[in-house]
Symmetry: C2
Subunit: 261 residues, 2 copies
DNA sequence: CGCTATCTTGACGCGAGTCAATAGTGGTGG
DNA sequence: CCACCACTATTGACTCGCGTCAAGATAGCG
């Protein structure tokens, strides 16, 4: 089956045949993960309950309803987190790129399917082990708590997007987010690689494939982006995109109290 | 200005002139809060950085952009958490009822306005003090972490609602959630009291006041609910509502792997 | 009792979904 | 190497649900 590109350097795909299996000390993704700047003792303890797992593009890591035996951090590749409703409606709650922690939840069961967009490698942690470690090392739990708060911020911004933005605005916001995320991965150019097909973008932004396509065309017509390939987006007018995505600035905003009624 | 009812027993409104200012040991809302079942030492420490704050209906507790000097727990009444976009579009991210913790966030600034729907009393905690306490008492941080995860679960469900449900389904889900929340407050009847006007429901569910009104009428016509007063909803057919709100069961679901494609 | 704000209901229009046709793309096999 | 196939993406025509606008009903408050 034809999938989006595998050749995204930003996503830390395995290069020159190198193995995914590497010691944490060599982990290139670590600066992005919750385990960054953990003291050596905690690092070692964490490593003792960790193992590497590879998921091939298109296959499923966990299914909605599975017991939460493990939690994960993406180290290379890209995943999607999906809710499928009984009648076929679908929602992609989030995409997970390197550094992202998967499945913060209160439930003891997974609430979403987690599927690989590209060949992906993850750090897998035994859930009970993680809970135990959090008790032993409050510092670790603190880091996870921080991450959860960050995800909450993002989730709430996404609500605003879903509830109040029109398709073009949603797409602008999505592209900006992806750009920021890929920049964090070290690839700070304005050429984006989309690791997901249009259908996933649609289900992430609460619209249809056709509308995604039309909105992309709109952005291209307005000279805000270029689309050299299906899975590649060049940002031509960053301020223009930001102006469209009203909420994007608020996301970064720190204190500057904007205009109010 | 005419506001929704003040006489909601579920919301722990102050009764027979009693003062809000009560010792934690007497706090009726405590079983619902993150501070439930904290050991006495931690309870005392927490109390030392806490104070009671009252916000009158219609007034604002914090504004988007304010520095996060305090965090809060609602002890009586109801608040709304609001994002106002520059062009007037509005999103009510959440309603906060007794027991709810306000403003989990990574940002050092508030990202939303928080306004009182009814006269509301809160426990106010100095933010820096709370951070310090979390370091001293990992157990406390653990409780907060749990809460944050719970909020994340809820946020993600709300995304599905905003992205993929139609107005009637959204309203059904909303009423069920409210019923569950009021049940947790001890009022387990099927008579709901809405502490917010239609406009807030609309902005919470990503629709307009008119559509909220029409959808309520639809539910009434289908005999799923009755509307004896503007701010009161009687649930006549619980299973019927649950059937409408497809995602509602998934929210409670624990392991039962439903039908999939 | 009348003012004002909210809520409800109706008529209408637009934007996004649906359906359908075409173009593009990548993989496979002759 | 090229032709074919399957799938995805794009574009257009049409439909319909929800938003917009407007009028009337209801309720709280002075």
């Amino acid at each position: 089956m034809p999938w989006p590109p595998y050749d995204n350097p930003c996503l830390f795909a395995p290069q020159n045949g190198g193995s995914f299996l590497e010691h944490c000390a060599l982990c290139r993704t670590r600066p992005l993960s919750f385990c960054a700047v953990l003291p050596p003792v905690e690092m070692q303890a964490l490593e003792s309950i960790a193992s590497t797992q590879i998921v091939l593009a298109g296959s499923t890591l966990v299914r909605q309803g599975d017991p939460r035996r493990y939690v994960y951090t993406v180290t290379a590749g890209a995943m999607r987190v999906v809710r499928l409703l009984p009648d076929g409606r679908r929602q992609v709650t989030a995409f997970a790129l390197p550094g992202n922690y998967l499945s913060f939840s209160q439930s003891e069961y997974h609430r979403y399917d987690i599927e690989a967009l590209t060949d992906t490698s993850l750090c897998r942690f035994n859930y009970d082990g993680m809970v135990a470690l959090c008790t032993r090392f409050p510092h670790l739990e603190h880091k996870l708590f921080e991450r959860a708060c960050q995800e909450l911020d993002e989730a709430r911004e996404h609500m605003v997007l879903l509830a109040r933005m029109n398709p073009t605005e949603r797409l602008a916001d999505f592209l900006l987010q992806l750009a920021a995320q890929q920049a964090r991965c070290g690839d700070s150019g304005n050429i984006l690689t989309l690791p997901m097909p249009r259908a996933d973008i649609a289900d992430h932004l609460g619209m249809t494939v056709e509308t995604v396509s039309r909105s992309l065309s709109t952005l291209r017509t307005r000279q805000l982006i270029a689309l050299p390939e299906t899975y590649r987006v060049v940002i031509l007018d960053l301020p223009g995109l930001k102006a469209l995505s009203i909420s994007y600035d608020a996301r970064e905003a720190t204190g500057t109290n904007g205009s109010r009624r």
